[in-house]
């Protein structure tokens, strides 16, 4: 007999794949029988064809439907079971109070941290968004190449603003490709402190001088007057809070004020305060640019000077144009100008407002990085902390699954299907997460005032915003699914037979993922601890840096009065005579900031291609003595030596930059627009840290200023009581300079300001690192106590057979210690890599020393041991009689 013919295999496969399992047998049999019969009747081809047709016809919904099991008990409605699930969930929560507290507490802390960080991120990302023209405002910046490096500054010449306005400005119609790129071009003077005098009261307030389009650009909300107020020649717009300070409840419009005792202005408007945290938050008043230019001689002279780059320019783009296109169009405006030095390859760059806050760093002409790093850092920390809390939840739930195994077995045996169990356990975890969420909202509510203080923010919980609750709900669902997913799938997969027979064993299959989770947790925590320590070490390193002067007992004061030179000698003499003051010095820049840098220097042996940019600080003869700078060579300025008034004092960086061996007595020339001065070096001082303490000091030139400096630095007499000394100074100043507000700052406090941002980061990071460790330990504590509970019998037997407490302690602890050591290895590598990169951004930076890693590792180990030992020792001390009798 010839071999039996075969039907097409793929059709058979299809049948088996799709058909209801309880029908496959008969259908396959029928198909086969018909096929064999047809092969005989009409040949193989036809039979195969009919076979395929039949298979296709069999695949219809009515035959593919799975068999429904006929139950012989009642099929409860879903809501009935829901009641039962809820009841069981609450019973479980209340029965194991300790675990529930650990679970909910840990999760709540994690959520609270994530929520705070989320609020912080939201706040950071929405800075400046309150300006209506947020997307279209840009600051004009300038790139220039100095000694092969591109630096980017906001200082620009006045004529550039005029060119931008004349060629590309206005929203009127002109040549299509050029005109109408900008709706506003605003020339401005840097936000700075000025004296405001109202009849005989003096105030020191920060504000800006801007051209009249500024209120439109900044979309000021006018409470009184109008945005056009700035168009009047001698006008001033006040912020709401300043108006309140000056005038109280009376109407300030048309009241007269004096700025810096030289400009008399009328109040023409009051605008709503610009939001705290925004880039213009310090602008308490706006006065007309023209007024400032007219009253300040050198600005007036600079109005056609392309080389005097001392001014700010802001623009608003027309709605239809793209930032990048406009930036490309205006790029060469400076380099095409005859007055500008082409060697510096100056480029005009537009810096969009949307990047001001988060991307403030420029590297080689490219705008990158800045605060955005911290946004990322905290975002990642937030996700990690929440993740740690979720891991805890998963770990505890699966570890405790043994206790639920019997329940699962019985539920399955009496008819629960797997998806019902999944729903049950998901529901339970959602319930726990929802409870944790409620607790976390409470925690956040309590923590927000403290957090605001640490982070320097004004965040409020947006209880009324539907978005907040929407995000919250999404948050609960997401966390519920992440945290509850694994336990739900795992618990529901138990086989009732094994579970109920009692041979249930959670062996390595489940213990391994749990160990992985513990390792992940501790890796994150240890890495955060190392990071925190390094941040603090960096701050401390910069703090301990020699700063080149003695900052204790120094106060600084801004003097904005005309003809101060008439009073300077009297004031100094009277102050010293009063005994409250040891010495008084003047300078053009405050001690804690370099406000002026210049090129145009020349000296013997200067390489022709070297481009010079020195910090130039005009001082009085006594400035050095006042601040207490340290001489390496030469001598300080002296009133007795007439030649000293044409001398300069250099700092070490300047000497190194100039490359001179024997610098004393060397002539230095300084040429600028309209002047040409010859100096000679009389001394070299140790670098004075005026700018960032993380950067090397700028090469600096100190000279006797032709005009008196605006900043008085006063060395207090340490023998006098501080309050009394300040009162004496106030009296002397009131007598001789009644127009000057006695608005002093302590130099050491100002210097400390330089560390604020890093300190804030350090404090927040340590806070979060602490919480991460706390959450991890909470989880470990739960796990350890659970393990001990599981092994009660084993421990009892071991004790009976003679094991000591130490033996048992080792037995229970060594697993965890091993895990923490692995975590430490991983965390060390990650932290080393990340922190090494972080430190690179500081020129003046600490080393990553091994002891930080050692301390964090040992610390983590000790914390782990304490956490675990508590449980281990407790279990080891139990009387074996008790633990063995328990059945």
């Amino acid at each position: 007999m010839k071999r039996q013919a075969k039907p097409p295999q793929w059709a058979t496969y299809l049948l088996h794949l799709f058909c209801a399992p309880h029908r496959v047998e008969e259908l396959a049999g029928d198909l086969d029988e018909l096929f064999q019969q047809r092969v005989r009747q009409m040949g193989l081809r036809q039979a195969r064809w009919r076979y395929v047709r039949d298979v296709v016809s069999v695949l219809r919904p009515s035959l593919m439907k799975r068999q429904t099991i006929q139950r012989d008990y009642s099929n409860p409605a879903f809501t009935d079971m829901f009641q039962n699930y809820l009841k069981i969930a609450f019973r479980n929560l209340t029965r194991h109070r300790g675990y529930s507290a650990i679970n909910i507490g840990g999760l709540a802390v994690g959520m609270a941290v994530a929520m705070l960080i989320g609020l912080w991120l939201y706040d950071e990302l929405s800075v400046n968004k309150s300006f209506q023209n947020y997307d279209r405002i840009a600051q004009v910046m300038r790139n220039r190449t100095v000694n092969g490096e591109i630096d980017t500054k906001a200082g620009l010449p006045i004529p550039l603003a005029q060119t931008l306005q004349a060629t590309y400005g206005g929203n009127h119609h002109g040549p299509a490709d050029k005109a109408g790129l900008f709706t506003h071009v605003v020339l401005a003077w840097w936000t700075s402190w000025h004296t405001i005098t109202l009849s005989n009261q003096v105030f020191s307030k920060s504000g800006k001088f801007m051209t009249p389009e500024a209120p439109e650009m900044l979309s000021l909300t006018m409470l009184k007057g109008s945005r056009d107020g700035l168009k009047k020649p001698a006008s001033i717009l006040l912020s709401e809070s300043l108006a309140k300070t000056l005038f109280g409840e009376t109407n300030p419009i048309n009241k007269s004020l004096a700025i810096d005792n030289t400009m008399t202005v009328n109040v023409t408007g009051v605008y709503q305060d610009l939001p705290t945290g925004s880039s213009f938050a310090d602008v308490q008043f706006i006065a007309p640019w023209a007024l400032y230019a007219a009253s300040t001689g050198w600005i007036n002279e600079a109005k056609d000077d392309w080389t005097n780059t001392s001014f700010e320019i802001f623009v608003t783009l027309a709605p239809s144009v793209a930032m990048a296109d406009v930036s490309a169009t205006v790029r060469n405006l400076l380099v095409n100008n005859a007055q500008v030095d082409p060697a510096q390859k100056p480029e005009v760059v537009l810096y969009p407002m949307s990047r001001w806050h988060l991307y403030s760093d420029w590297k080689n002409g490219v705008n990158e990085g800045g605060r955005i790093q911290f946004v990322w850092l905290f975002g990642i920390i937030g996700v990690f902390v929440l993740f740690l809390a979720c891991i805890n939840f998963m770990n505890l739930s699966t570890a405790r699954s043994v206790n639920r195994a019997k329940e699962v077995g019985i539920r399955k045996a009496i008819g629960s299907r797997r998806q019902e169990l999944i729903v049950q356990f998901f529901g339970e975890s959602l319930l726990v997460v929802a409870l944790a969420y409620a607790v976390s909202i409470g925690l956040v509510y309590l923590a927000v005032p403290f957090f605001n203080q640490v982070a320097d923010k004004r965040i409020a919980l947006p209880f009324t915003s539907p978005m907040f609750w929407g995000v919250g709900l999404g948050f609960v669902l997401l966390t519920g699914f992440i945290a509850g997913g694994y336990p739900a799938l795992y618990l529901s997969s138990f086989r009732p037979v094994t579970v109920l027979k009692g041979s249930f064993y959670t062996g390595n299959r489940i213990a391994t993922p749990r160990r992985v989770l513990v390792v992940v947790q501790f890796t994150v925590s240890i890495a955060l601890i190392i990071g925190t320590l390094v941040v603090y070490q960096q701050i401390q390193y910069a703090r301990n840096r020699p700063i080149g002067y003695n900052r204790a007992g120094l106060i600084s004061l801004l003097i904005n009065v005309p003809h101060y030179e008439l009073h300077r000698e009297t004031v100094r003499n009277e102050l010293i005579k009063s005994g409250a003051v040891l010495e008084v010095g003047e300078s053009a820049s405050p001690l804690t900031e370099v406000q002026s840098t210049n090129g145009g220097f020349n000296w013997a042996g200067k390489p022709p291609t070297l481009q010079v940019n020195f910090a130039t600080i005009g001082i009085s003869h006594e400035f050095g003595k006042t601040v207490g700078w340290q001489f390496k060579q030469g001598h300080d300025f002296s009133r007795q030596l007439a030649s000293d008034s044409l001398g300069v004092v250099l700092n070490e960086s300047a000497v190194a930059f100039m490359g001179l061996r024997d610098v004393l007595g060397q002539p230095i020339t300084w040429q600028g627009n309209g002047f040409d001065a010859r100096f000679h070096v009389i001394g070299v001082i140790q670098d004075v840290v005026m700018d960032s303490p993380y950067e090397p000091a700028k090469p600096s030139v100190f000279f006797i200023g032709p005009r008196p400096g605006k900043f008085l630095t006063i060395r207090l007499n340490p023998a006098r009581n501080l309050q009394a000394a300040l009162a004496t100074i106030d009296d002397v100043l009131k007598e001789h300079l009644p127009e000057v507000p006695f608005n002093y700052t302590f130099v050491d406090e100002q210097y400390d300001q330089k560390f604020r941002s890093e300190e804030r980061i350090g404090l927040l990071a340590s806070l979060f690192a602490g919480l991460a460790i706390f959450i991890s330990c909470l989880g470990l504590f739960g796990l350890a106590s659970f393990m001990a509970e599981q092994r009660t019998k084993e421990i009892g037997v071991r004790k009976v057979l003679g094991a000591s407490v130490v033996n048992l302690w080792l037995l229970l602890s060594k697993d965890f210690v091993f895990l923490v050591i692995i975590a430490f290895g991983l965390a060390g590598l990650i932290a080393y890599y990340v922190l090494h990169n972080w430190l690179q951004q500081y020129e003046y930076r600490t080393e990553l020393s091994w002891w930080i890693f050692a301390v964090s590792g040992v610390g983590a180990l000790v914390i782990t041991l304490l956490t675990v030992s508590f449980q281990a020792v407790k279990a080891a001390l139990v009387n074996p009689v008790k633990s063995l009798r328990s059945e």
């Binding site: 047998e25 396959a28 049999g29 029928d30 198909l31 009919r50 047709r53 069999v58 009515s62 035959l63």
Partner: protein, 108 residues
């Protein structure tokens, strides 16, 4: 219980089950219909009709014993229930009644 209306194909299948009483399974019904009516039917159509008939209570089914010819696979054997038989008789009676009602003049 679903509606008792019998479609044309369902009626044919029910009749085929009755003809093959004792050995009425899918393939047999297919063969019976093909022989009796001379038209080819799909196995799927037959099974789905049998399914519907069973849901309506007109047939019963049970799995038969194993046979060698089908590779050891069992057959599902269908039997017409009393209710099924009455349904067939009712249809037949209805038809007869309608035949009787045709006036003699109709065919001329």
């Amino acid at each position: 219980m679903k509606g008792t209306y019998l479609g044309e194909f369902e009626e044919v299948v029910l009749l085929a089950v009755a003809i093959r009483t004792g050995d009425a399974y899918g393939a047999a019904v297919v063969n019976e219909i093909e022989q009796q009516m001379g038209r080819s039917v799909n196995l799927g159509a037959v099974h789905s009709a049998l399914n519907r008939l069973q849901e309506k209570g007109l047939v019963n089914s049970e799995m038969g014993g194993m046979t060698a010819e089908r590779g050891g696979r069992r057959k599902r054997l269908y039997t017409v229930t009393a209710y099924g038989r009455r349904a067939l008789e009712e249809i037949r009676q209805l038809r007869n009644q309608m035949w009787g009602a045709i006036p003699n003049t109709a065919w001329t």
